[in-house]
Symmetry: C2
Subunit: 469 residues, 2 copies
Amino acid sequence: MQGFLNGCANAIGADHVVTDEALMLPFLTDYRQRFTGRALAVVKPSTTEEVAAIVKLCNLHHVPLVPQGGNTGLVLGSIPDESGKAIVLSLNRLNRIRELDAANNTLTAEAGCILDHIHSAATDAERLFPLSLPSSGTCTIGGNLSANAGGTAVLRYGTARELCLGLEVVTGEGGIWNGLRGLRKDNTGYDLRDLFIGAEGTLGVMTAAVLKLYPLPKAKLTAIAAMTTPDKALDLLNIAQRYCGTSLTAFELVSRYAMELVLKHFPALSAPLPLTYGQYALIELSDSESEDHAADMLETFLEYAIEEDVIRDAAVAQSIAQSQSMWQLRENISAAQAMEGKNIKHDIALPTSSVSDFIAKTDQLLQAHFPGCRMVTFGHLGDGSLHYNVSAPPGVPVEAFMDCTPEINRIVYDSVASFNGTISAEHGLGALKREELVRYKPPIEIDMMKRIKAAFDPNHVMNPGKILI
Amino acid sequence: MQGFLNGCANAIGADHVVTDEALMLPFLTDYRQRFTGRALAVVKPSTTEEVAAIVKLCNLHHVPLVPQGGNTGLVLGSIPDESGKAIVLSLNRLNRIRELDAANNTLTAEAGCILDHIHSAATDAERLFPLSLPSSGTCTIGGNLSANAGGTAVLRYGTARELCLGLEVVTGEGGIWNGLRGLRKDNTGYDLRDLFIGAEGTLGVMTAAVLKLYPLPKAKLTAIAAMTTPDKALDLLNIAQRYCGTSLTAFELVSRYAMELVLKHFPALSAPLPLTYGQYALIELSDSESEDHAADMLETFLEYAIEEDVIRDAAVAQSIAQSQSMWQLRENISAAQAMEGKNIKHDIALPTSSVSDFIAKTDQLLQAHFPGCRMVTFGHLGDGSLHYNVSAPPGVPVEAFMDCTPEINRIVYDSVASFNGTISAEHGLGALKREELVRYKPPIEIDMMKRIKAAFDPNHVMNPGKILI
């Protein structure tokens, strides 16, 4: 392998081929610290041409590569396995914003650009890049696109896929494809862009992307509403969509237990409504007119929802500070769960019309098998997307409960499948869910994926073992 | 071939295997009546299973098939070549709306459903299916998706691609893939859906789709504004987006000559503004609140645009009838062109920031080579998408001018390429532009397309000669 490593050093400079175990460690351990893989080296090119040179070397020497951005993925997609045969291809040095075309509402960023930097560049040009994720200070746009990230603004603006107009990709054999088109319409052949998006680095390495920008809204308003059950939250969603159209930019569900966990572990935060209701909805409106207009719209539909007995109470943020603290209640759920101890997580989505029935049925099934287990249910209800997490019953040791993961996964995923849902709404498959994929996808779909994989990565070097077994 | 035809008759009934030349003719001639191909038969299955049976027979007997919906395509994509070796696979009998899930805002339609029938079903459920095309009384959703149709509502709702959540497809070898998922988020592997969308029937046969619905807007308002030049129209677009956000649902450019042509050939229509300006913009707002709210918004930004000298005049429709006649001015441009005589058409798109420079530069190039030629320039300016059509100079015989098509195409497409635009914004490639594709796409992109084609259609039966040579 020394010949390969020398080749890498010649191509991009010895300083950027890291083989020191301690220096490699952060690149080998996943975000949730569940797994540490091994690698031949961490290789850090700084240009598209350098990426192409490394991919060619990998093909020549049959060395697998694992593309990595901010390494914030949740499905073990951006770290290598324990064989130690692969390299990590870090895109962090490809971090330039190449162009901002305000009149075309586009920004061209390299794969290693941190999401928050893209937000800032857009804001400086009085534009909005709407992708909104808790990890935005660390995650990179290449990773966001490779995983087709979701987040809290999907209801209005779509997933990462829908925010991308064009790509530059180093192919599985080390060619460079310049597909950096900033066009809203382009019907010239097969949609290669959307094939690379969401492929988790198994078909090629994204090196840059043309992203869609939007006008900055003139006002943003946040509110929290309380209701008894998830079906009431769905009724509220329907009313909100009718009254507010696309001004509705976020609609998040938070169960009471999720809210309690945040308040327990983040004592500086306070609940804007009494903790006596079953469910809470966090609502955001963005308005192109004025704050007054948005406030009128928000108050009108909340009043209507109270009159119709859809919600029991509501609080509208009266300041930016209040709005931020409402959002912190939502954004700190994951951290609060971690502080409380491990639980069994599911990143699922359903037709919105089935969310309520799914929760009722699945909660019941889980209680029947694991009496007293506690549900941390929250997520992007507007998209039918839920984080449906199961915590140990009071008194049951966490580690013993975690051993039930396979059984609990089976109950949850079988239920998801019975409602035509998905077992990965926004995190992807990585190495974590590739076996589940085979269970829940029809064989013909797996077969088509394998044909694409074989066509694009004939030498089996691109992030092997991810998505497909 | 009698064995093959008998097999088809056994699979779907002899009545649905048409070999009579006169009965086949409408299926063999393209929408613009430029070309008539030949076929072994027109085969009309009525279920997904029947489609699969036919595709299997085609594989077995090495008979190419040409999927066809409403046959309204503009690039010779849905008719066979003159060899007479292929069958036309008509999807017209797969025309059921299988499901409408109002709470999930989805509708599941079979490929042969006529677009207007889908509009009606959505409206009956107080929902909007926004795809808006002049051929909506004839075209089918399968064709719309296969060509990734655009139209006048893309600015707000996206192309056909963005309106589809899931597909059912008969693969190139006759398998059935049920990908009819009604999910807003689903990150479980490669994006097969978007690969079939826009593939013009060269990778598989779509048999059904899950479509996105939207709340019906409470009000729709139409206006026409007049300006001197296309760059002023782009300034107006920018103002409209700032003032109206997503309420702006259409922004169409119509050049004076295009307007004059419509008024000449449709004398019942009248111009809402004097014909003394260079360019006109047709604007539509959709509002989730009220007609008054939309009217305020529209008048405010038009007044601002007049004050800022962006536009010279504007007329707001005061009734549904007025609104319809404004739209008829736009929608009859194609018909008016046909009545005036043939011209050389280009379906292009550019970054919106380059549209004005493109028009100025390309108009000048064309005038230099073909003095006096007349430009019928119109289209979906909000998406950077133009119908950029060239008519003969006064006094030059149309047929002589049409002989200059290759030279004029070269000037236009080279100019498009120099601005990073596309030579097919919304009509696709079909058999008409496949040679151009090779000229303007990088070889690495063509190579990736060919790999996909080989992986999905190993026996070369799926709509051969379309998109790829």
